[in-house]
Subunit: 310 residues, 2 copies
């Protein structure tokens, strides 16, 4: 069961930190060598840009891996590099696994059941075609948009469970616009996001292991800490992926209410804290070498979250 | 403005039909020649499967193009083929454009603003990187999930408008689970999907051309025709993409209420009808050659929709 895998990994690495990998092709770390850029003309711009992005992401992962339990790959940033970007995703999944890190495929997919199945095959275990087995990305977790309803989530859950992986539903996201619909008040007086939370609890109830954690988690915005207590009440067994720490304004110290009321290992693993730009871009404010600054910022966030859950 | 492009194309081709391209690697048309399958071992299974899928999709597009105004590429079905699948997407966009068809990138993306921008770059015009211009897929329309709110939709709209393209928001989808959340009753007594409809109308109001059609459309399930009259009332200027005709149970003849109250050209272009499996799989029930059966079914759907909007 995924909850066991996660709580084991969190305890072993003493970390709940997830480094977000969302490379901006204009804000890559300085190339360590000329090898990053092949001569123009021999490859497409997409292939050249991807090579630079891939080198940057590998360095970033290597720099922060000791402070992290997982990487979160922002699929959008790779899709804008087209086919080479998807190849880079696959390589980064392997790279992160090689460093002992779990991989969250952050694509926020959601579609009618037949298409949801295809997305699930893409992100988890792959598909058997007449031409042979086409492997999936091999993600340990994937983010899913719940708007289309339970029948559209089932294919993700089935594909995840077949791999011992998990699913994370968007419940209350970190952007300002989240208030537009996710906080719309329903006829029972409660906001819409609470209904997503109930579904997280219901679906996850089917696969709760000895740790007490389920395999259906929730994306909660660290930018709206006021919701965390209520969210935990509604989803006592779910892993929360707290997004928006750092550049988006969320602060680790305000997230205490997110942790589950559970034995230590499960309590610690009940919250994953994710940060992207504040780690990769830490060097801009400190003037240090990028990898060193990223490592220090990751270690600072790791320790803050760990202390909070002690 | 996109509304003009679309209404011109609909009138010129006398069609509102969108063929959905969502290839199942186990249900491809019989290969026309041995060229479809290179010898095993020379390429990865993903590359071999993609080659077969690509040949199938090209034949399907060629067969039905005369009856259609657009193709809808289901991104999920290509992503499960990984990087080769994304390369196939690009080739199919070019192929469809070469046949005079518009292209709808059906990915139902939705993310916080920084990530939404990256998705928009992937699907529309691309991104300028240090390594050069990385072109986007070049879609004329892309489907977007509105759950994350207006700030998450803006990047799609800006990128689309820069290319003279459009955006289609999910409003009320065609799957049974759509009832779970999209029809949740809000405190004002109205279902959630009506709030999405209001956003479609509001955002589209910024770019209405002489035809009276905006560049922000709505996905409406053809499987729930009872909603169409109310939807049109809330979104008088929007193009409706009616999904779920055929295999999912929607019938063209029941869609009359979806058309806008507008002069002929705009009324006709105010509804796009999309069908996938019932076209590609028509041969299974008729016993005809697949391309011929697909062409006949597409022509039947085209004529039915055209008659309805006359």
């Amino acid at each position: 069961v995924f909850g066991e895998v996660l709580s084991g990994r969190v305890v072993e690495r003493e970390s709940q930190l997830v480094v977000g990998i969302d490379p901006d092709p204009w804000a890559l770390w300085p190339a360590p060598s000329e090898s990053r850029e092949p001569p123009a003309g021999t490859h497409s711009a997409a292939a050249r840009a991807t090579r630079a992005v891939l080198a940057h992401c590998r360095e970033l992962i290597d720099a922060v891996a000791p402070a992290c339990v997982a990487v979160k790959l922002q699929l959008a940033c790779f899709e804008r590099l087209q086919a080479p970007g998807w190849e880079a995703l696959r390589q980064l999944v392997d790279h992160a696994h090689g460093r002992g890190l779990l991989v969250i495929a952050d694509g926020k997919r959601g579609d009618v059941p037949a298409s949801a199945l295809a997305y699930a095959q893409a992100l988890y275990g792959g598909v058997r075609a007449a031409a042979g087995e086409v492997p999936g990305l091999g993600a340990d977790l994937a983010t899913v948009n719940p708007l289309l309803g339970a029948d559209a989530i089932d294919p993700f859950l089935s594909a995840a469970r077949a791999q011992g992986a998990g699913v994370i539903l968007l419940v209350r996201t970190s952007n300002p616009g989240a208030a537009d619909f996710e906080e719309a008040t329903l006829s029972d007086g409660r906001p819409l996001w609470e209904r997503f939370a109930r579904l997280v609890d219901e679906l996850g109830g089917e696969a709760v292991g000895a740790s007490g954690l389920s395999d259906v988690g929730a994306v909660m915005g660290a930018t709206a800490p006021a919701h965390l207590e209520r969210a935990r009440e509604l989803m006592p067994r779910a892993v929360f992926l707290l997004a928006g720490v750092g550049a988006q304004g969320g602060r680790v110290e305000e997230l205490g209410a997110a942790f589950a009321d559970a034995p230590t290992a499960a309590r610690r693993a009940s919250v994953l804290v994710t940060s992207s730009r504040s780690i990769a871009g830490a060097f801009a404010s400190t003037g240090e070498q990028p990898a060193r600054a990223a490592r220090a910022e990751a270690e600072r966030l790791r320790a803050a979250a760990w202390d909070l859950s002690g």
